[in-house]
């Protein structure tokens, strides 16, 4: 997965829209490093030869410290740093704002494997199939310790933390098969948490999706759970139940009893399922039992997918 340079691996393949922009910054920083390293080495070397001691009792003359010089070599690095900071931060901001209509994949890390699930249903272990040219959002959480989902050829990574959701996105630009890694130490088989990303043409991807036979989609699985766990008895769609109506809820702001306003996103729904009493709502008695320990992270994700499928408001519509 490296692009060889005279047969020598020196640069990873860039296979996402993010990769090349990160690489440009990387090249600039490398040039900066090389320039200053050479500059310092050469200056030292020159002084070493020119001002070598010529006799045992030699006493050099003192040199004054010109303030202008001190200011110069304080200001120049500062300007360079400010420049790199601005460049890098705008890039980072841009890269953390994905384009609309991303496709979504859910990732659960556990010691020591990756479970991935597509909303349409297909599940994968240590493999991720995605189409080229489509923005893909990964929503990730962990069953146990901190992991980190890292795809070097896309130049992205993010920690995967138990108890909350993290998300990253990418848009692949080259078909091929690439490694992804766990990049946060997670125990004995940490180095075994490696998998493959298959970047496919959209047609191939469509074939792959439909090739798995009759798959239950995540939302359907979530709906089944919703009934099984009895959620349906309180969260009634006509508003007569003891719990809030979930239809059209996702993506909307809600006001909590504490006065705080939160947008119903993945993290919110997860918290509402595993620890409902931590965020009581004004017009409801907090009677919902906690589901912590009764369902695993993948099932939580399925429930979230179901809540999402009950209708969302398109937040990005106006843009």
């Amino acid at each position: 997965m490296a692009e060889p340079w005279f047969g020598f691996p020196i640069k990873p393949v860039d296979a996402s829209t993010t990769a090349s922009s990160v690489d440009h910054l990387y090249y600039f920083l490398t040039a900066l490093t090389l320039f200053f390293t050479f500059f310092i080495f050469m200056t030292i070397f020159y002084f070493m030869v020119k001002y070598r001691r010529r006799g045992p009792g030699e006493k050099p003359k003192g040199t004054p410290t010109p303030l202008a010089l001190e200011i110069t070599w304080t200001v120049i690095p500062s300007i360079l740093c400010a420049f790199v900071f601005t460049w890098s931060s705008s890039l980072y901001f841009r890269n953390s704002r994905p384009p609309n209509a991303s496709m979504e994949v859910f990732v659960v890390g556990k010691q020591w494997m990756w479970h991935l699930q597509h909303p349409e249903g297909p599940r994968e272990i240590n493999e991720l199939h995605v189409p080229v040219g489509v923005p893909v959002k990964l929503t990730m959480t962990s069953e146990d310790v901190i992991h980190d989902f890292s795809i070097p050829v896309f130049r992205i990574k993010h920690d995967v933390i138990p108890g909350r959701y993290a998300s990253i996105w990418f848009q692949a630009t080259k078909t091929g098969t690439y490694h992804f890694f766990c990049a946060q130490y997670c125990g004995a088989e940490h180095s075994g948490m490696i998998g493959w990303v298959y970047v496919m043409t959209p047609t191939d991807y469509a074939n792959w999706l439909s090739g798995g036979g009759k798959n239950e989609s995540m939302a359907q699985a979530g709906e089944r759970l919703f009934t099984q766990l009895g959620c349906i008895t309180c969260h009634v769609s006509d508003g007569t139940g003891r719990g809030p109506v979930l239809q059209g809820l996702f993506g909307h702001p809600v006001k909590l009893r504490s006065g705080e306003t939160r947008v119903v996103d993945e993290t919110y729904v997860r918290q509402a399922i595993v620890n409902p009493n931590s965020m009581p709502l004004p017009n409801y008695t907090p009677i919902m039992p906690t589901f912590q320990g009764q369902i695993n992270e993948e099932q939580v994700l399925q429930l979230i997918a179901y809540v999402k499928s009950l209708g969302t408001e398109e937040k990005g519509k106006g843009k």
């Binding site: 504490s258 009493n277 931590s278 907090p286």
Partner: protein
């Protein structure tokens, strides 16, 4: 070139209590005092880590923290605050007695300080025992048999009690260490080790004791009072 000063003949006058590497008592006293203050700064940071964590979790899990706070006995907390302030007074008076060379008063005030410290720890023990009885000790005996005020989430209440025991436990540990130091000081004072010219150990121990008092001055409102008791 540095010259050797002819005047420094430190070997000549060895005042009582002066260690050989200091020039004079003034320097030794200032060094000891500064050293203790620097040590107290490390103590600020030591407790500071806990206080920072407390601030974060309190902001995240307010209902649980308020409920946990209301499960504490504010009367005992306030009594303990008064007891500890009293021990700070006796400690300050002990330093005063040392400065003015009153040996018996010094011993008396040190023993009073220890006594008040013991009362504090006794009350603390009683509080811990009650919490144990009600199953409010995370990790060791967590099965609350009291009604949780405001129906707050149990996990957050448990988190509050983690902080309660870590914070008060570390504070109590400091009290116990202080108790030991006071015992040594009282013994030394009894033997007449101190004089108006040499009382640095008393002063420095006093600084430590007052610091422990200050930690409690903050723990009391943070744990007992700001729980929406109205």
């Amino acid at each position: 070139m540095a010259e050797m000063s002819a005047s420094a003949a430190h070997a000549a006058e060895h005042e009582r209590g002066l260690r050989h590497h200091f020039e004079d008592m003034e320097q030794q006293h200032e060094a000891g005092n500064l050293g203790m203050w620097v040590f107290l700064v490390t103590e600020i940071m030591f407790f500071g880590g806990l206080f920072a964590a407390y601030a974060i979790y309190r902001s995240l899990y307010l209902p649980g923290f308020e409920a946990g706070s209301r499960l504490l006995d504010v009367k005992l907390g306030a009594t303990n605050t008064a007891v500890l302030i009293g021990s700070s007074l006796t400690m300050a008076l002990a330093v005063h007695a040392a400065q003015t060379g009153k040996r018996k008063a010094l011993v008396l005030f040190l023993i009073l300080t220890m006594l008040l410290g013991a009362v504090f720890l006794g009350i603390k023990y009683d509080e811990y025992a009650t919490k144990w009885h009600h199953g409010l000790v995370p990790g060791l005996k967590w099965a609350p048999d009291e009604e949780i005020p405001g129906n707050a989430p149990l996990g957050s209440v448990e988190m509050f009690f983690c902080f309660y025991f870590f914070m008060t436990g570390l504070h109590a540990l400091h009290m116990i260490i202080g108790f030991g130091i006071m015992a040594v000081m009282a013994a030394w004072a009894w033997r007449g080790k101190f004089s108006p010219g040499y009382y640095a150990p008393i002063e420095v121990s006093g600084l430590y004791w007052h610091f422990v008092d200050i930690v409690w001055i903050f723990l009391f409102p943070l744990l007992y009072l700001i729980g929406g008791r109205y």
